[in-house]
């Protein structure tokens, strides 16, 4: 294998970036993996296993496995808390990197923990003062955020943009009361909750939720927001988590409010039949949620049979938030001179080759180029790796 000195930069350490990096390393290519946050794994590493009696093919466990592959692979150099500052693309691509401006949303006692045990460091001190005040709470091996990040220049032969997506900000749908009512949560919140606690509990009182509503298409397929795409993952994750909730608590009453149910897994027909016997499906997207006593929620929606408005009470409402273009897309688009499509995702070469771009040496992997499941992100990253290998003439 003649791959002397070939070096590729992968921007983003989520499942697509991890996969692209690992696939490239199999061909003796040196990989520089840049991740803005102090941890690898992106959003997908936070997802829970959705198996009931059997695997439901969510693929969350494969993210753990890929992350482990990457951290154990010496050909991949990981730069955490690092972002791209500037690039110079004349044949070989020169990239200036800087410490990222990452700030966590919340940090208990000044410390943020990674989501995978295979993250090094596993704990990051983001608030030095708080940590100094309570040194006993600082776990062994914790690293100060200030000491992380790489500033400097790297010359590479190709770049894979795998900077991912951002979940729809549910606060933009004000009438759902997200962040105002404690028991209105997003699909992502539920993923984390199930992963950390192994149960579906109400955030307000920690009690097992009995009456649960899932509202689909929150932020997706929304003309008013101009979001004219289906996020492709929300029906699968909602139905799988609903099944898991039912598996954990047989008495749970689950209602799914939807426009059109999208397929989940290869054996969709069998799975959907089971869902239909386990939950109630209502083909209507509710508009308003009102708080009630005991932090329960009242939801107003239209009855399909007679067109009448119904008010119904729920313990917990899960908003199935969709996949939105990544927060850095426009910045990265400017830096790398690669265009975005009308939805704000990166535009690939054409429909058949959506990993190459019109810019020589710059490739795309995963949700940076549009909504994808874990499995689809991995496959897309594999495709990107193949295109990079061809581009570099590695054999």
């Amino acid at each position: 294998m003649s791959t002397k000195n070939k070096k590729v930069m992968v921007v983003g350490g989520g499942i697509a970036g991890l996969t692209a990096a690992w696939e490239l390393s199999r061909f003796n290519i040196d990989v520089e993996l840049i991740e803005k946050t102090p941890f690898l794994g992106g959003y997908a590493i936070r997802y829970c296993c959705k198996a009931t009696d059997e695997c439901r093919q969510c693929g969350a466990c494969t993210v753990e496995a890929m992350l482990k592959n990457v951290v154990e692979e010496p050909k991949i150099k990981v730069h955490l808390a690092t972002e791209v500052e500037k690039i110079n693309n004349n044949g070989r691509i020169s990239v200036n990197l800087k410490k990222s401006s990452y700030q966590p949303n919340s940090a208990k006692e000044g410390i943020v923990r990674g989501y995978s045990k295979n993250n090094t460091p596993l704990h990051v001190m983001v608030d030095k003062k708080k940590c100094e005040e309570n040194p006993d709470a600082v776990p062994e091996g914790a690293v100060e955020l200030d000491t992380m990040g790489y500033s400097g220049k790297l010359d590479v032969d190709a770049v894979v943009l795998a900077s991912g997506f951002q979940p729809f900000d549910a606060e933009k749908k004000g009438t759902y009361g997200y962040k105002k009512f404690p028991n209105v949560i997003t699909g992502l919140d539920l993923e984390c909750l199930m992963r950390e606690q192994g149960a579906v509990v109400r955030p307000s009182d920690g009690k097992i939720a009995q009456k649960i509503a899932f509202i689909q298409c929150v932020g997706s397929r929304d003309e008013r927001l101009g979001n004219l795409w289906c996020s492709q993952v929300c029906c699968p994750y909602a139905l799988r988590m609903a099944e898991k909730s039912k598996h954990k608590n047989e008495d749970a009453e689950i209602t799914v409010f939807y426009m059109d149910i999208q397929n989940a897994s290869k054996d969709y027909a069998g799975f959907y039949e089971k869902c239909k016997t386990d939950f109630r499906f209502v083909r209507n997207i509710p508009v308003d949620i009102f708080p009630m006593e005991n932090d329960s929620l009242s939801m107003r929606y239209m009855n399909e049979e007679d067109g009448q408005c119904i008010n119904e009470e729920f313990d917990l409402v899960v908003l199935s938030v969709g996949i939105m273009p990544g927060p850095d897309n426009s910045n990265l688009s400017d830096l790398f001179d690669v265009g975005l499509n009308e939805d704000g995702f990166f535009a690939g070469m054409d429909k058949l080759n959506s990993t190459s771009t019109l810019k020589d040496g710059i490739f795309l992997a995963g949700t940076v180029a549009g909504p994808k499941s874990i499995a689809a992100s991995k496959a897309h990253a594999g495709q990107a790796a193949s295109e990079v290998i061809k581009h570099l003439g590695v054999s």
């Binding site: 695997c55 494969t62 753990e64 029906c235 999208q262 290869k266 054409d350 991995k378 290998i389």
Partner: protein, 553 residues
């Protein structure tokens, strides 16, 4: 990425030619990519010509790409590294990854080829669902493909001008985004025809694919009317009128279309079953050639060196088939390299003195890695994944797995039964792919774990012998937990099932021996389920606290 101790390595030569089954566009693309990587390709097509799916290309909104597709076919036809066999089929393929002996029939002739890898690239087949709607195909009742062909021909402009066309989709089947895309493409094309009106009677709109929501919106803006129903509309006189009760408007809505277009089901190729049998690969849901197992995605089959692309493994349009082919190109390069492979000799080793060639191992190996020689079964070091199912199933105990041999594990079990200040001693047999990872996660995340818990790592739950569990109890364990991947998630397909059977065997023995069954538990778990791991072992500790320490101590 296992930490097996493989010190005894050997270099072997492998075949680097590649067999591609299926000469549709996916197969052509696969042949092209693999030949470009420097390997010789044998492309086998049952029909007289390649590119059987050329027709639909224009129907999949790939007009821009269609020139490139034609170029691709010309390129492989001219490529001396691609041997094309049309009207040919696979007869047999003995051997393992890196060393398959493919026998192909072409007419009367049988050709043999040594190949290192096999790519299956069959296309999907279509079936018109007119019967599901009580319709008979006629001049006014067209299948989706017929409508698409009509639109692609020049005749549509005149034939469909000022006509009303009704589409039926998602009510005769669940459907999928590709079915939807075909309908949307036709609807959009119809709207270019003067005076043509489109009505779409739909169940769930399957828009979970790039661009479909925009196509849906565009068609509505251009005047297409969508009726979203939960059941089939009333269709009278083979499509003369269609009606349904609108629950919001509270009235019947009836139209009399000139043409009705019936949706089609996209199914697995009829050839798949035969190919699966010859290649000893699994048939997954609905006749597609891949289990619904995330560890195989995107393109692996249950056997190393055999890959599945596009509609072979699930309903795929060309974009996702292309993604698959690129992934296969990477896999094939990685597998075949320069034709030399360094492999560990001791992944799975058969003891010649013990083996009686009963073929138990051949039958239970999920990876098709075992064949037999003169005096004993032979485990291919190329194809073996070291799961150890064979080793535990072998009635003669003739097989040992490198890094996990029985003696080592027995020692480990004995030394792991420890107790401090009388707390229960719990042994957890953990599949290294799932439970062991989950256990480490629970530990590192400071989730609650019993003091006397020790994990025994195994390559796959299928390696957990009845003897291991019995040994644990005899050595003084107060409780034993066997943890495997969930059904459908085992990298070795059914290692978890074997483990469950063996646990059931042990339950029977415990009953006979008068040992409480609660001291043994079996659980499915995934690598990211640290909290569940914690719950399972803490529950076991509580049970032991109720039962008291083991009477066997």
């Amino acid at each position: 990425m296992t930490d097996m101790k493989h010190t005894d390595m050997e270099e072997i030569n492998i075949a680097t030619d590649v067999l591609v089954l299926g000469g549709g566009l996916t197969g052509i693309k696969a042949a092209s990519e693999i030949a470009d990587s420097g390997y010789k390709v044998v492309l086998v097509e049952k029909n007289a010509e390649l590119g059987s799916q050329k027709g639909p290309v224009s129907l999949f909104g790939l007009e821009k790409e269609s020139k490139g597709l034609q170029d691709l076919e010309n390129k492989i036809t001219a490529d001396s590294n691609v041997e094309i066999l049309t009207q040919a089929s696979l007869v047999s393929a003995e051997g393992v990854t890196g060393d398959f002996n493919a026998r192909l029939s072409k007419g009367e002739e049988i050709v043999e080829h040594k190949v290192g890898a096999i790519v299956v690239a069959t296309d999907f087949a279509t079936a018109v669902l007119n019967e599901n709607y009580g319709l008979t195909l006629a001049d006014n009742v067209l299948a989706q493909t017929q409508m698409a062909e009509l639109l692609a021909s020049g005749a549509a402009k005149q034939k469909l001008a000022n006509k009303t066309v009704a589409f039926l989709v998602g009510l005769g089947q669940d459907g999928n985004p590709l079915v939807m895309e075909r309908v949307l493409n036709s609807v959009l094309a119809l709207q270019e025809i003067e005076g043509c009106e489109a009505y779409i009677y739909a169940g769930d709109l399957k828009v979970a694919s790039n661009g479909l929501e925009r196509m849906y919106k565009e068609s509505r803006e251009k005047g297409a009317v969508y009726f979203k129903l939960t059941e089939k509309p009333n269709i009278v006189e083979n499509g003369k009128t269609i009606s349904f009760f609108d629950t919001v408007a509270r009235r019947d809505i009836e139209i009399s279309p000139d043409v009705i277009v019936v949706e089609e089901e996209l199914r697995a190729d009829d050839l798949n079953a035969e190919i699966a049998e010859i290649l000893r690969i699994n048939v997954g849901p609905s006749g597609f050639l891949q289990n619904d197992n995330v560890h195989f995605f995107p393109v692996r089959s249950n056997r190393d060196g055999i890959f599945v692309a596009g509609s072979t493994r699930e309903i795929s349009g060309l974009p996702s088939a292309w993604t698959d082919v690129e992934n296969i190109a990477v896999e094939v390069r990685d597998l075949l390299g320069d034709g030399k492979k360094t492999v560990a000799k001791n992944i799975g080793v058969v003891n010649e003195d013990k083996c009686v060639i009963c073929l138990t191992c051949y039958r239970c190996c999920p990876h098709g890695a075992i064949y037999w020689g003169d005096k004993k079964a032979v485990i291919s070091p190329m194809a073996c994944q070291g799961c150890g199912i064979c080793a535990s199933e072998c009635p003669m105990d003739a097989i040992q797995i490198g890094g996990f041999n029985d003696e080592e594990i027995t020692e480990k079990v004995k030394s792991s039964v420890v107790s401090s200040n009388g707390t229960p001693r719990i042994l957890a047999f953990c599949c290294q792919n799932s439970a062991f990872e989950a256990g480490e996660m629970a530990d590192m995340f400071k989730m609650q774990l019993p003091e006397g818990l020790r994990m025994i790592k195994v390559p796959c739950a299928g390696k957990i012998d009845v003897d291991y569990i019995l040994n644990a109890f005899v050595s003084g364990a107060d409780g034993v937990v066997v943890m495997a991947c969930h059904p459908g998630n085992c990298k070795s397909e059914n290692g978890n099932t074997f483990a469950q059977w063996r646990v059931n065997d042990v339950y029977r023995m415990m009953e006979e021996a008068g040992l409480e069954k609660d001291r043994l538990c079996f659980a499915g778990i995934a690598s990211n389920m640290g909290s569940d791991f914690s719950h399972i072992v803490v529950d076991m500790e509580q049970k032991i606290n109720e039962l008291g320490l083991s009477p066997l101590k």
